[in-house]
């Protein structure tokens, strides 16, 4: 407690980090310089400070040299502050009598002149030495973790994360935007490289999610607000009206067959618009939950105008044969409204997935212009036994002589559409080569067509992937290396007449080729969701420059975000296949379990408090606090801070006109001495 009056005995350590620092900063010079500074009892340079011997060195020195402050100059505090605080504590000192200097990320790695880099290291070290003198002993606060978890997005990532947690006995809220869970995987017929049936591996998991006692499944719902912080989030979820009571609907679908629309008439999103549905529908046979919904935009019982609250006006025009068919169950409810529900959770796993590149953005490939140009997702539905054609691959355009729909005799698949291109997306979408080969195999199996795959580079890094490529080669699929220039219907030979011609420079043969086909498939790449920006803000995450959600550390914290208690899994973090997605989802669930099972988190004690004697009662700090942590004592005319609510941003501190607010770890004195320290070089 009497640390103030105690003689300062600072221990300073500069880390070589192998060559990482030592190559650009003369560590011995820095150590010798710091030794001369007031208050420094000991100054050393050492090869690896974060290693066990490095940490032991600190502990030993604290004991033997009666150190009462420690400064380490090494990598970023975001990486190892925690490590060194631990060492300092193990040495018998309060862990906050420590300060860290970043001379790797902010110095040796970014500069090219050894002299300059060494000068900078000296200045930064000096600042820390001056700063640490003002450090105080602080206590870590423990905050309880609410044991429930929110999982956002019900693709394979969300499903796997939710199941893992639920099986561990934790309560999970799974919020999915669409009327059913399943995500992209639910649309596939087979999955590479094993070609196992997607539905067979996915649908059992989906129904388990639907019936698991620990999972509250909210489909057709979206998170609208998130308040709080790790351990204690309050989440608001909007549940959109489906005009069918999910608990009463048994999924018998009698209502659908009895709808006044005898034939399905409206474009069916799940089938990529290749099929049709009625106003009352179920997205696909294995949808979870097994509950129908009504599209008020086209249902005759709704008027086209809206109530003031935005809900559609219920009319009286339709015979409501659906209601009749539903009978006793009374599941259909035209008066249903969107509802808001609030839940409390301790952690959140974001699994919002991806969207595919809009093929229309590459006009040279003719999507939207030529009917027989398809996206890969459309073809996934076409080859799917439960798809719009029952698995028959028939062309959109062209009929056989007998008037029956035509099947393609030759098909071209163009890889990397929208990917690996400066004009669109720079990244490799990682799954397109593989799914293009999967589709080549399936299309050939379904039609016997001649298959041409146009690739830039073949990318098959995964277990069994190269083998799959070999299999395709053996099957006789033609692989042509080159970025396709265009798809055209302009025939130059009788053979090309009435077909699509793929024009490409075959870079292996060194010739420009024209390959006539009946069907073109565009392997569109993966992109961040259109609303990734809003979702990111909602959960206080960051995005990389490419728009994918940013992990806390690309190697060491791949499923964490910069917000404690918010984790990531699946394609929302970047393109990946199903095995990687599932692995990540398991990892994210494990991270959430760590929090829950520990039961509490330790909070950085960087909160603010008010020096009552100094406070003038001006109240200017009160509206600045986003957490309403600052209150006013009307009797004494003084402000005070509820430290349990304070998150330690320091905004109030920076704006107090009488300098009467103090932030632990970022106290004015500490920062002023740091400023002086960084400038005191010659």
């Amino acid at each position: 407690m009497s640390a103030k009056k105690e003689e300062l005995r600072i221990g300073f350590y500069v880390c070589h980090c192998g060559h990482n620092i030592a190559a650009m900063v003369d560590c011995a010079v820095v150590a010798r310089y710091v030794e001369t500074l007031p208050g420094v009892a000991l100054s050393r340079d050492y090869k690896y400070m974060c290693s066990d011997p490095g940490q032991e060195l600190i502990q030993q020195d604290i004991r033997e040299h009666r150190l009462n402050r420690v400064v380490v100059a090494s990598c970023s505090p975001l990486l190892h502050e925690h490590t060194f605080r631990g060492a300092v504590e193990a040495g018998g000192l309060n862990p906050f009598y420590f300060h860290m200097v970043n001379i790797r990320e902010h110095d040796s790695w970014v500069h090219t002149d050894r002299g300059e880099a060494t000068e900078k290291a000296k200045a930064l070290a000096r600042a820390a030495i001056q700063r640490v003198a003002h450090h105080k002993a602080l206590e870590i606060k423990k905050v309880e973790i609410h044991p429930d978890v929110l999982v956002v997005g019900g693709g394979i990532a969300g499903i796997h994360a939710a199941m893992t947690l639920a099986n561990a006995g934790k309560k999970v809220y799974l919020v999915e935007r669409e009327p059913s869970i399943g995500g992209h995987m639910a649309k596939f017929d087979k999955t590479f490289p094993t070609l196992d049936c997607a539905a067979c591996i996915l649908t059992p998991k989906m129904s388990e999610v639907g019936s698991h006692p620990n999972i509250t499944l909210w489909t057709y719902s979206e998170v609208t607000k998130v308040d709080g912080f790790v351990g204690n989030y309050t989440v608001q979820v909007k549940r959109k009206a489906r005009y069918v009571n999910e608990d009463l609907c048994t999924g018998c679908q009698d209502c659908i067959s009895h709808c006044v629309f005898k034939e399905p008439k409206f474009a069916d999103d799940f089938n990529e618009g290749l099929g049709k549905r009625k106003p009352i529908f179920i997205p696909f046979p294995q949808a979870t939950p097994q509950a129908v919904l009504i599209d008020p935009e086209v249902c005759l019982n709704f008027k086209r105008n809206k109530n003031p609250d935005g809900s559609p006006v219920v009319g009286d025009k339709c015979k409501k044969t659906c209601v009749e068919a539903c009978g006793e169950k009374h599941a259909i409810d035209f008066t249903q409204k969107d509802t808001l529900q609030e839940v409390k959770v301790g952690s959140i796993i974001v699994c919002t997935g991806f969207k595919t590149y809009d093929a229309g953005r590459s006009p040279a490939y003719g999507y939207g212009n030529y009917k027989n140009v398809y996206t890969a997702l459309e073809v996934e539905r076409l080859v799917n036994a439960s798809g719009p054609t029952g698995g028959e691959v028939i062309l959109r355009e062209g009929k056989n002589a007998d008037g029956s729909p035509k099947t393609p005799k030759s098909i071209g698949i163009i890889h990397c559409v929208g990917s690996r291109d400066k004009k669109t997306n720079l990244w490799c979408s990682r799954v397109c080569c593989m799914y293009s080969m999967k589709l080549a195999h399936l299309l050939r199996e379904h039609t016997g067509a001649e298959m041409y795959n146009f690739y830039i580079d073949m990318r098959t890094p995964g277990k069994g992937y190269e083998e799959f490529y070999n299999k395709l080669l053996e099957e006789g699929t033609h692989f042509i290396r080159g970025r396709v220039g265009e798809v055209t219907d302009w025939a130059m030979t009788p053979e090309e007449e009435g077909r699509l011609v793929i024009r490409v420079e075959d870079t292996l043969a060194g010739v420009v080729r024209r390959i006539p086909v009946d069907m073109v498939v565009l392997a569109t790449g993966l992109e961040p969701q259109a609303d990734a920006g809003e979702v990111r803000r909602l959960f206080n995450m960051s995005c990389g420059g490419d728009g994918w959600f940013l992990e806390r550390h690309p190697k060491l914290a791949p499923v964490s975000t910069f917000t404690d208690g918010v984790f990531l899994a699946g394609c929302c973090q970047g393109p990946k296949d199903i095995p990687d997605t599932v692995a990540q989802a398991g990892a994210a669930a494990a991270e959430a379990l760590v929090l829950i099972d520990k039961g509490y988190i330790e909070q950085e004690p960087n909160t603010a408090h008010i020096l009552e004697d100094e406070c003038s009662g001006c109240k200017s700090c009160i509206p600045l606090c986003p957490y309403t942590a600052i209150l006013f004592d009307e009797g004494r005319k003084k402000a005070y801070i509820n430290e349990a609510l304070c998150k330690g941003c320091g905004t109030c501190v920076g704006s107090c006109p009488s300098a009467s607010i103090v932030q632990n770890l970022f106290d004015d004195q500490e920062i002023f001495s740091e400023i002086e320290g960084v400038l005191a070089y010659d």
Binding site: E105, H106, V110, K120, L624, K647, D668, I675, L679
Partner: protein
């Protein structure tokens, strides 16, 4: 000072975006000028205008403040609060005759390592053009002049009694401001 002058810039970076971006610049091995010394704060909202003034007074030729993009602050809107203060600060600096361009506020997200590099290089170049601010030296000369003045006034007082007119006192002060 024998060495060639190069700018001294103090930077205040928020922990969540800009500091992390600077770490990323490091991890990506981007190369930039070594003139900036970064001080880490939890949020740009913590930047007290006094920090900036103190840095300039203690010898900085420029000050850079880095925070999260609007809407991205880890603490909701600390960066907006900073922005308001920053506008006032700039007026204050202008009144003090300090070029506006010596103090810069930038929103740099955790992913923008490139931007850290560009901003630091740009700012270094800009301040090179402006030349040294030299507040500590100015303070020294001002102190000396004031001291000198005090001695002069004392001498005059001793010779002819208390100061006769205000004008006589003001003259040397104007010289200070010129």
């Amino acid at each position: 000072m024998t060495k060639e002058w190069t700018p001294r810039i103090v930077a205040f970076f928020c922990n969540w975006c800009t500091y992390t971006a600077a770490d990323l610049a490091g991890v990506s091995r981007l190369k930039y000028a070594s003139n900036v010394r970064v001080i880490r704060l939890m949020c740009s909202g913590r930047v007290d205008p006094q920090f900036v003034l103190e840095a300039l007074a203690k010898g900085a030729d420029g000050v850079l403040i880095g925070g999260c993009h609007p809407g991205d602050c880890h603490y909701v809107e600390g960066n907006y609060k900073m922005l308001r203060r920053f506008e006032l600060l700039k007026r204050l600096l202008a009144d003090m005759g300090i070029e506006e361009r010596r103090v810069r506020l930038e929103w740099i997200s955790a992913a923008e390592g490139e931007k850290v590099k560009t901003v630091i290089n740009e700012m270094t170049e800009q301040i090179k053009k402006l030349g040294p601010l030299g507040m500590p030296q100015k303070f020294e000369t001002w102190d000396k002049e004031i001291e000198h003045l005090a001695v002069e006034v004392q001498a005059r007082d001793a010779a002819q009694g208390p100061c006769p007119t205000r004008a006589a006192q003001l003259k040397p002060m104007e010289a200070v401001h010129a």
